[in-house]
Amino acid sequence: MPPAVIVENVSKEFILRHNRAMGLKTRFLALFHKSKRERREHFLALDNVSFTLEQGEALGLLGHNGSGKSTLMQIIAGILQPTKGRVITHGRVAPLIQLGVGFNPELTGYENIFLNASLYGFLNKDIRPKVKDIIEFSELENFIDTPLKHYSSGMQMRLGFAVAVHLQPDILLADEILAVGDQAFQEKCLAKIAEMRNKGMSLILVSHSQEQIEKFCNQYVRLDKGVMVEKGYVDRSTTTSELATLKTI
């Protein structure tokens, strides 16, 4: 069985463009005013990151804000291209970088289910048999024919999460999305992810919370300013403390 995700020496450099000339006027002014000219600054968001995630395993991504976690997720999802290195994935990747991508406020919840799912590459006919489960999971039976603009933000997230988990992805990329809705729904989401994990789904989870990673993942990577500073397995053999501890290798 090939690994689910291979990240091989991935580096990502962004070009920060200060005073970026978007229009003719700025381009013209730049000819005369030095201060209006575009300045380019290179910024290394990821520096030579490598790891392998076997199928059915779960990996936690730890790190402070701006450490490159989200950039790495976007590269694995295929949204960004790495400057150096490569990423190989096996199976269907469902990026939950934001819930409910492409949701349109004017359409009803029902119509948005299809729009959202087709962004993940699903055909409408494949979604139709799943719609009932999706609506049931989101607990929005009474509102599903109402335009999305009348939903609360919690309701929209519930719908987004319900669609994403019912598409049966092989690899789920979760970027701090486990803060969905109220406590009860959050627990339902976590239970659902655990259930999918048992069925062999691989998971990459971004989180600030070490506790959450210890609960869900069996390995972890810690990034700091784009550099992989720590990589290891979650040790569940310790009996002394209730929580498993992170063990560096």
Partner: protein, 262 residues
């Protein structure tokens, strides 16, 4: 049997319902709350035709027989061009929310914007279908070639749509320049007048406009009831190949890094 063409197209074919859902979404959102709904897509071309008919029959005289038919054909086909091009400029920039959050073939964004315009246009072309015999149109076998001519025209437009949607990301003034160019384009295309009444030098200039060649195809098939001249067909094909090639190459080069510039 895997062959290279189906292998290249498969990832796009997989997303066919995305294009469909995006077009349906745009249609639903556009006329939401308007009492007359889709009928509004008839309103604009109909008003234009009435206006131009007034101008060209009462203000400037035209000697063309069945002048309204000539005009309707030109205005409708030019409308398809101008609406598709004007919309394409913002197709990628306004879809940044999608593009930054999930991966799907980017080419589908400008393509579905074109298909949306086309869907509205098909409603408008029904005017022509209904009025065709009353305006003096003749039914002849050449009409069967019309879908081919239209297909060629749409491919030509698609090439420009791809090009402009990518360029707009880098160069945000494009949209405004295009709006002005489309205004000029109307008068530099034989829509309200016959190209043969022009002075030879002016005719040369107008012939350089690719739309002139396409208008000639449509006028020959739908208005004159003849087959278009072969050299016009060849020039139109040449223009189509040119725009599609430029659009595809530009899209291929830029698409992968598009997301960083939005």
């Amino acid at each position: 049997m895997p062959n290279p063409i189906t292998a290249t197209l498969r990832p796009y074919w997989q997303y066919r319902d995305l294009v469909r859902n995006l077009v349906i979404k745009d249609l639903k959102v556009r006329y939401q709350g308007a009492a007359l709904g889709f009928l509004w897509s008839l309103g604009n071309p109909l008003a234009l035709i009435l206006l131009y008919d007034f101008v060209f029959t009462h203000v400037f005289r035209s000697d063309l027989p069945h002048y309204i038919l000539y005009l309707v054909i030109g205005v409708l086909h030019y409308n398809l061009f101008s609406q598709a091009i004007a919309q394409s400029c913002e197709s990628l920039t306004s879809a940044s929310g999608l593009i930054q959050k999930i991966y799907f073939p980017r080419i589908l964004v400008p393509t579905s914007s074109l298909l949306f315009t086309l869907a509205l246009w098909i409603i408008a072309i029904l005017i022509l279908v209904v009025l065709y015999p009353f305006l003096g149109g003749v039914y002849h076998w050449g009409l069967l070639l019309y879908p081919l001519a239209l297909g060629l025209y749409i491919a030509f437009i698609w090439g420009i749509v791809l090009t402009f949607s990518v360029l707009q990301v880098e160069f945000r003034d494009l949209k405004h320049l295009v709006e002005i160019a489309l205004m000029f384009g109307f008068w530099f295309t034989p829509i309200g007048y016959d190209i043969n009444v022009l002075k030879p030098t002016t005719r040369e200039i107008i012939s350089l406009n690719p739309l002139t060649q396409f208008m000639d195809l449509f006028h020959a098939l739908l208005y004159a009831g003849t087959l278009p001249a072969l050299n016009h067909v060849i020039i139109a094909c040449g223009w189509t190949i040119a725009t599609v090639t430029v659009g595809m190459i530009l899209f291929r080069c830029k698409a992968r890094h598009l997301v960083e510039d939005l």
